[in-house]
Symmetry: C2
Subunit: 134 residues, 2 copies
């Protein structure tokens, strides 16, 4: 139907990952080509690119690929897909949410520590190197 299909090389370049990574993600069920006959070349459409971007973002948040597999469909599934095991999905999402809240708290605290320490260090630095105005 769509005309904007691309092959794995194009997709990999655009998303900034290797082809190997895409193969690997496919084996984990994170992504799949729209069409394929036997061992022919994989063809992808735009959603595949969006998925790779989303996977990268979730990875930066510290999710493992296994965890990502549990939530990625919520970004791309249609209502029909949701109909099976909806309650399970809700539970997973709520679990993720509380983990995220904890992480947000810890991250803010770490941020405060960092700023405080940077200031402390810079203060010490100024004290130790006052000879800058030769």
């Amino acid at each position: 139907m769509s005309v904007d299909n691309m092959k794995i090389g194009d997709l990999a370049r655009r998303a900034g990952v290797s082809q190997r990574t895409i193969h690997y993600y496919e084996r984990l069920g994170l992504i799949s080509p729209v069409a394929r006959e036997g061992a022919s070349h994989r063809l992808y459409e735009e959603e595949a690119f969006a998925r790779l971007e989303k996977i990268a973002a979730l990875k930066r948040l510290g999710l493992s690929l296994e965890e990502i597999q549990q939530v990625i469909d919520m970004y791309f599934a249609d209502a029909d897909t949701h109909l099976q095991g909806k309650q399970k999905v809700i539970d997973i999402l709520k679990g993720q949410l509380s983990k995220v809240d904890v992480q947000l708290g810890e991250l803010s605290e770490f941020r405060r520590d960092l700023i405080q320490n940077i200031q402390h260090m810079e203060h010490l630095y100024d004290d130790a190197v006052p000879d800058k105005r030769a």
Copy 2:
């Protein structure tokens, strides 16, 4: 000097890690016993426990052990230690700070997505299962 020394088994139990992990962290320079003669048993004081807690917290934020090694001393070092390579430490901290800021942004976005999807799911769920009031 202090009287509250503990051995590796106690420390491991309290911190919820294995002894092997503590050995491993020692090899990476993240932690070390207060006293040791040859191959005798390692003795730790309270700071070791605090270090393990801090390491766990930083790990939850997604820092690698190598990155942790770069910042952990800021929590426990005294002023003297700071005196060597202060500017380098400042640079590392500032680098971490900008990474943390990026991560905070992404995490907030992810949180919004999660909440939105949970609401969406619960709406669908209510629609699909109205027979709850038998």
